[in-house]
Every structure is written in C-alpha cells, then in structure tokens.
C-alpha cells in the first residue's frame, strides 16, 4: 500500500475517522491530567521513591 492509498484509507474508511477523533480527545485528557500533576508536584528527583 503506497502513501496515497493509506491516506485515502484513513480519510474514507468508516470508523477510522471516529477512531482518529477519539484518539485526539483521549490523548488530550491524559496529557492534561499529567500536566495538572506536574504543576502541583513537579518532576520527581531522579531515583526518588514516588510519594504515597
């Protein structure tokens, strides 16, 4: 499958579009949750045990 066909497949196939949309939205949620955690706790020192 060449690149053009792959692009065509991703754009036109039923379901793939929904999967792309959900991946974007799901990825954003995970990213923001980790960002919130970083704001409050910062980056743990190398080798430090995670806080309970």
């Amino acid at each position: 499958m060449d690149l053009g066909s792959l692009f065509n497949y991703l754009i036109n196939s039923p379901g793939i579009g929904g999967a792309i949309a959900m991946t974007v939205l799901g990825g954003a949620i995970v990213f923001y949750v980790f960002l919130a955690r970083w704001i409050v706790r910062g980056t743990p020192a190398r080798g430090a045990k995670p806080k309970r």
Binding site: G15, G17, A21, I39, V40, R41, G42
Partner: protein, 440 residues
C-alpha cells in the same frame, strides 16, 4: 501560603452566603431548563415534524443556537488567552468570568446539535462509523478538543484560589470543604508551584489562542464546505471568528457588569476595565462590519444567479426585516454608543452589548436560513420557507436558562475574580509574592 490580595475579602464575600434570592433564581432557571427537557422528549417521541424544520430548511433555530453558543464560548478563553500572551495586566480581573462563559456555553452548543437530530441516539455513529472526510467529524474533534482544553485551562488557573477557599472558608459545610480539598490537589502555594503554573498557563495561552482560531474556522466549514450560495466562500472562516469574538466580548461586558452590581465588586471591576473592553469592542464592531461588507461586495459583484437569490432575499426579500434589524442592532446603534456614550456610562455600554448579542443571534439566523431556503437545487430555488414553532422556542429558552443556571451557581461556590492573579497585579508577581510570604 497565598499571595496577599487587598481585595480578598470582597471577592470571597459572595461565597460565604447563599441568599433566598439565589435559591429562587436557581429554581426558576432549573424549572425552565426542565420544561425544555420535557418538550425535547415530546419532540423526540413525535419527531421533528413538531418543529418548523422541513425540506429544504433542515437547520433552523437549533443550528443558530449552536453557532451562537460556540461563538460565545470562543471569545471567553480567547480574550483571556490572547491578553495573557500580550501581557495586558488589566485583563486579570476579567479572565475567570470570561473563561466561565466558555465553559458553560459550550455544552449547550453541543446540546443544540442533539436537539436538531431526529435520532440523537445515532450521535455515536460518528465514533463507530465516522469518516474523517466529513467536516462534521472535524467539528466534533475540534470542538471536543477546545472544550477539554478550556476546562483544563480554566481549572489550572483556579487551583490556587480553590486552595485559598479550602484554607479560608473553614466555616463552610463539610461537603463543600471536602470539595475544595479534593479540587485543590494538595496545592501549597510554594514559589515552585506558582512558577510551574505560570509556565503552563503561558504555554497554554498560546495554544488556546491558536485553537480558538482553528476551531471556529472548522465550525464555519460545516457551512463553507458545501457548495451552497452564501456559504461557499473562503471568507466564512474569518467572518465567523470575528463575529464570535465580537459577540463573546459583549457577553463578557454584560456578565462583568451584572457581577459587579450583584456582588458589590466595584473596587475590583473598575471603570478602567470596562473602558479597555469598550475600545476593543470598537475595533471588533468595525472589523466585523468590514468583513460583512467584503462578503456582500464579492457576492454582489460576481452576480451569480443562485448567490443573488439569497443576497436579494436578505437585502429586500422575505428576510430583509431580520437582516436590517440585525444591521441596526449589531452595527449602527452599538457603534454610536461605544464611541459617544459608553465611555462615561456603564449602563449605556451594557445596553449596547445586549443589543449586539440579540443582533448576533439574528445574524447567525440570517447566515443559515436564507441559504437553506434557496439552496443550489433548482426545485427549491427561492421556494423554501421556515417558520419556527413553540417547540423550538421553548427548547431555545431552556438552553439559555441552563447556561445562566450553571454560571449563577458557579459564582456562589468559586471566586469569579482570580484572587491570586489580581494579587500578582497588585504586588508585582505571584511568584515573588509567594517567595516573600515564605521568607516571612
């Protein structure tokens, strides 16, 4: 520790009491929202035949509401984000009130789409069978990402103030203290935490400004990607965007004026703040009018048959009364007030902003319905008509009631003016303020 803010007690005062008036207002708004829900079930059971929607006008008031709510939603975060990027210090008291508009209007924009669907249960088909070829799926992705980003942008800047509520409102009911404790995520207000928060908000402000532009452009493409007269133009994206920012900024002015009056925030929401917004509004009024003029000039100069049917319908046909009312409400009267009366009188400024919002709702109607009534299909050319029914009216009212309800409740539980950011404005910088407090 929390940065010192001389107005802290004034800003926290509305959180200390819930009056009978509040409860009555909440109950009334909830009642209207519930009435809308009942009518929506009625529409669901009997079908869209109970509305004025029919071939060829499939998108009437519901889509007008959708674009209007999305427009309101865009300006809130946009004003906050772009002014943060520009480093405009005067923005700090209004950011949260503006972002809250985004947060509480977006869900009702989404609900408007559900109301327009005869089979709302099929919305999940977008996920299971959606093709990315469709602008509708672009819209779902873009609006969804915007909603998520707005929620977190809003929440991040709220964390220090939630922690302040946790520490100051010790006489609040237990469930409420617990809520503050959970939402504060253990925030201590250390200089490091403030530094990281500032970095994230600065980065997100740039991202959000970009997302606002792209999202409202994508919303306009639902119309622009079809080959319909009045819609198929590259200008529709910037035109929608400017309209959204314009109507949203006027909504921010209205909300700020109401909060100022009801919660006695005169010392925080100063006349200077409103004057800065007034100057922005003059720019937006002129910019939006220019875009509209450019759009009509291009169409009229081209003189294509299908385009002219729609254009004439707006200028002198069945939609002329709505069109010219819109021009008066959005351009003529507000511009005069912004330039002449608005500087001295907050009442005039707010009055003009109310007119703009009514006019912008009509503007969305004028963009959507005339084109649908005269689409690029010969049998219907000039033949379509649309008369909304009471069902659409009640559901529309209920959506607005729902938005007002969420906003009203929020302002009694969280500080609507950012305490830490206005402290930053007063004492120099939140990080320094926190460092000073720690040294003490």
């Amino acid at each position: 520790m929390h940065p010192h803010n001389p107005h802290e007690s004034i800003i926290l005062a509305p959180l200390r009491v819930i009056t009978r008036g509040d409860k009555l207002l909440w109950l009334t708004l909830f009642g209207v929202f519930l009435a809308g829900l009942v009518v929506w079930i009625y529409q669901f059971v009997l079908g869209l035949g109970v509305t004025g929607l029919n071939r060829p006008v499939y998108w009437g008031i519901y889509l007008t509401n959708f674009v209007f709510f999305i427009g309101l939603a865009h300006s809130g975060t946009f004003i906050s984000a772009i002014l943060r990027v520009a480093g405009a210090g005067w923005r700090t008291p209004l950011t949260r009130a503006a972002e809250a508009i985004t947060l509480f209007s977006l869900p009702f924009g989404v609900m408007s789409i559900l109301c327009d669907m005869g089979r709302p249960d099929r919305i999940l088909n977008l996920v299971f069978y959606g093709r990315f070829q469709s602008p509708l799926l672009w819209d779902v992705t873009a609006v969804g990402l915007y909603l998520l980003s707005s929620i977190f942008f809003f929440y991040f800047s709220l964390i220090p103030d939630i922690a302040l509520c946790r520490d100051r409102l010790t006489d609040a009911p237990r469930w409420r203290r617990r809520m503050y404790e959970v939402l504060a995520l253990g925030w201590q207000g250390t200089p490091d935490q403030f530094r990281r928060l500032d970095r994230v908000l600065d980065g997100m402000a740039i991202f959000m400004s970009m997302v606002v532009v792209t999202v409202h452009t994508v919303v306009s493409w639902i119309f622009g990607m079809t080959l319909q007269p009045g819609w198929h133009t590259a200008l529709i994206g910037p035109f929608f965007l400017l309209g959204a920012i314009f109507s949203g900024t006027t909504a921010v002015v209205i909300v700020l004026a109401v909060l100022r009056k009801v919660y006695h925030l005169e010392k925080v929401l100063t006349p200077d703040l409103f004057n800065s917004l007034r100057k922005l509004l003059i720019v937006f009024t002129l910019g939006w009018s220019y875009m509209m003029g450019a759009e009509f000039l291009t169409t009229g100069y081209g003189n294509m048959t299908e385009e002219m049917v729609v254009l004439n319908d707006k200028f002198s046909g069945q939609y002329a009364p709505i069109f010219w009312t819109m021009v008066v409400l959005v351009f003529v009267v507000p511009l005069f007030i912004f330039l002449v009366k608005g500087k001295k009188s907050l009442g005039w400024l707010v009055g003009a902003c109310v007119l703009v919002n009514i006019g912008m709702w009509l503007e969305r109607f004028i963009v959507i319905v005339p084109t649908e009534a005269s689409p690029r299909l010969l049998p219907y050319l000039g033949g379509g008509a649309y008369q909304p029914t009471w069902v659409e009216a009640v559901i529309t009212l209920s959506l607005f009631a729902g938005m007002f309800l969420l906003y009203a409740v929020f302002t009694r539980f969280f500080p609507i003016v950012p305490i830490w950011e206005t402290a930053e404005h007063h004492v120099g910088h939140a990080v320094e303020a926190a460092a000073i407090a720690e040294a003490k």
